[in-house]
Amino acid sequence: MKHVVIIGNGIAGITAARHIRKNSDFDITVISAESEHFWSRTALMYIYMGHMKYEHTKPYEDWFWKKNRINLVRDFVKSIDTAAHRLTLDQNEPLTYDVLILATGSQPNKFGWPGQDLKGVSGMVSLQDLKRIEEHTQNIERGVIVGGGLIGIELAEMLNSRNIPVSFLVREAEFWDNVLPHQEAAMISRHIRRHHIDLRLKTELKEILADNHGRVRAVVTGDGEEIACQFVGLTAGVHPNIKLVKESPVETNRGILVNEFLETNIPDIYAIGDCAEHKNPLPGRAPVEQVWYTGRMMGETVAQTICGNKTAYQPGPWFNSAKFFDIEYQTYGRVWSKLKEHEDEFYWEHESGEMAMHFVFDKPSKTFLGINTFGIRLRHEHFDKWLKTEVSIDYVMEHLKEANFDPEFFKPHEDDIIQAYKARYPDAKVNVKRKKVLGIF
């Protein structure tokens, strides 16, 4: 029986294992150093904040693996012998494979800042990071977070939940404005400040200073200001974890290079998830996409190929979501931080300043290209269909109500949005059917 070995028990590796099990009788082994069982990295913040315990973040009960004959090994893979199809492990005997899937995830970026390895400095990716953050944020007077992205804002919320004052150093002019258009970036920056976070925009980290015990005492910013703190969170992005592969003949660049079938340059070795880099990314897609959903989809796809149904990775229209403190965010299609040529936009913001929708469309053809929504939930299914069938922005407006996914009784805002849209584009053809009163008029 073919032996499929998967390194990494994150969403990518585990999805691959589950789907290989569904479609085959192969022996499956998943090796991972971080945890005994698959847990949801995306819920890391909730453990720290006490919303959940670690065990609640495990998407499958512990009996699941045995029942589905997925063999779990908790160990660290030290090297790959691609010629002998063999892995050397830290604790266990070497292991041979017929097929190897690399799903090693990513690691926090560190840009060589002086003091970046001091006690009290941590990234935020793994369970070990979580433990370190927990340890180093006991009874402290201030924490500094470096890097304004999705993980940084989560860490800010975490420290805030423990009433630890936070200074949040963000290189950009507004929070995450390398991804979000300036309107939304400004809105989120405001919201961060409402939560009493000391948000320092256009501020970089220069160095981290130590006290006599080798512990963090302060950071120095780009303009020389010293901020006293006892904890520093480094959240300036992540990079593919390719340490293991570096020494092997498997080809890498930023990540492990794969073709559209998620195959590396070595036969029978695949790479999926955060660690993979697409040699020929699809139009409009980045070569390295480090999100939960792409990890899952690569896992689903590679399982098909390994089980004999060779399948190219073909993600549909882009989507993503996040939550910035209390503001939920979803995106469908592409809304770039700066409009591309030929693109036009329509932005609506609620008077509360905590809800917004940002539509982007092709100027000449009026084809709908993407939407960012804040504080209003939208249906993935509708936008997926609309993006695939390339409907017009007018069509989206006309059917916006159908796509609402807010809970019942929530105040609808579509009428306001459509009105504002019509005011902005008076010759737009948006015929919203009025809801019949009592089904009669």
Binding site: I11, S40, T42, A43, Y46, M49, G50, H51, M52, K53, H56, T57, K58, P59, E61, S161, R194, H195, W292, Y293, R296, M297, E300, T301, Q304, T311, A312, Y313, Q314, P315, G316, F319, S321, A322, K323, F325, D326, E328, Q330, R377, L378, R379, H380, E381, D384, F405, D406, P407, E408, F409, F410, K411
Partner: protein, 594 residues
Amino acid sequence: MKLLQKAGMTLFIVASTLLISVLFLNRYKLTDAALSKAITDSTERKMVAMDLAPMMGKTYDFNVSFNGDIDKHLQSSNKKITSKFEITDQDIGNVLSQFSGQEIRYSTEKISDIFDDSEEGQFKAQKLKDYTSWMHEKEYADKAGLQEHLENTKSSINANIVNDKGYSDYKIKALKLALTRQSGFGPVSENSLLWLLLTIGLGVVGALMYIFPKLELLPGIKNDHVYHSPNSGRGWVGYIIGFLLIGFYVILYWYPEYMTTWMELVDPISMALNGNEASQWFFYGFLYTLAIGVMGIRMIIKYRHSKYQMIRTYSVIFFQIAFAFLIPEILIRLNRPSMDLKNIWPLNYTFFFDYNIENLTHSGSLGLGMLVWGIVLALIGVPVITYFYGKRWYCSWVCGCGGLAETLGDPYRQLSDKSLKAWKIERWMIHSVLVFVVVMTFGVLYTYFTGSSEIAGINTYNLRTVYGFVIGAAFAGVVGVGFYPFMGSRVWCRFGCPLAAYLGLVQRFKSRFRITTNGGQCISCGNCSTYCEMGIDVRWYAQRGQNIVRSSCVGCGICSSVCPRGVLKLENKDPKDRFGEAILIGNDSVKMNA
């Protein structure tokens, strides 16, 4: 924690401690006045007065010793009565001597001759006749066979003498409660309103002082430190609260004579509402309503970013105050049959009991209307409304048990067990209770209409006593609420409530309700499963893009509220596509039935 909150918490703890101490403040003295208030029937009163004569005028410092003495005296009276009326071996010998030789044909007619005209003689003769009526004309091969039957009869008669002539266990309990209730005196009796304010009143103020400052936090999900807290995280505070709740229910159901001082506390309110002194049930109803009210305010503040949660909480508060508390009390005041009009069979398992039917059918058109209302609601209302909205219309919008779970129970909702095993146990248990209640109700109705108390060899009275004890009191009360801090807020609703089982069957098989998942947006974080009070592993469905159609879902909407990615939406839609295929949107390489 803010200063105001700290003060509020302190106040609440002081008031709660005081509320418990109040139980030890009164003293007890049996007087003629107390006797005549406690016992309406004059012959009974005379008998009790005689038996309790040694206690008259004596002051007891403790409720326990007072009740101990009542028990002692009534039991010793029971003993005397038994020895006076019991059928002796000699009596049996006399009966036997009426028959001789072989091939005996027993006849009850011979019995009267053996006993004299005294009270006990008459009693014995009557009992023996009644108890042996089934042996009348029966043939026995010899005396030994007859003797055996008579001996058995003797022991059953003797064991039951106190029920007729003395004090049954049931009566002793009732007397203890009534006498203690009337014999208490002391600071609480003298000024019950003041003590009400000092205990429950201050408790409410303290609780509100703790709750209101939360308005200063920005609206949004507020689950910080839920698992760090020794209360909501199954820690020591939770254990203390759990044991206090369990103790409270044990006293309420089985030893109400020890909580008479609490009844006195709410006398002024009871008098104002229904014109009577408060019973233990009035006190319970009052406290229950307050708990839903105060913790309802907490719930509204906590979820003030979610209209669904707010409206739902207004609804449970309204139904508790109006339907469960005020209307029944006002009906009593108007001398009408009192009924919680939203308490539906089979949750309201006494609805089809003979006394309730009698009561309703003898109370004019209002009573009849209530009877019809109850039947229509149970047989037509439940399936029809559940078809349109799912069981949530009742379980998390109207029901009193649900109302308490959604308010007082909210801090504990995450403690429900999400494992597959728990789900299996749940299905067995809740459907067994449903079968039990249906069988019992049929039995009771059978008895009501035919007059026969046995059906297929089972005594319908026993059936309903067992149900009342095991399900009605022990499960619904002691476990249902007492286990909040151990097993979450919906233990009863999930494992025990027969109405939930019934609503659930409709919801599962014929309803427009479902929870829709949003394409491929789930990040498997687990918030939804963790905060599902019914222990549904919501994530299991969400992460494979499958609608959630589960009989147990009470539609509280919390899973949807806590989901950080906007994945879940409670919806009523065309039932055709409700199960749907498990499809995760986003991957065009493969059609994904996860």
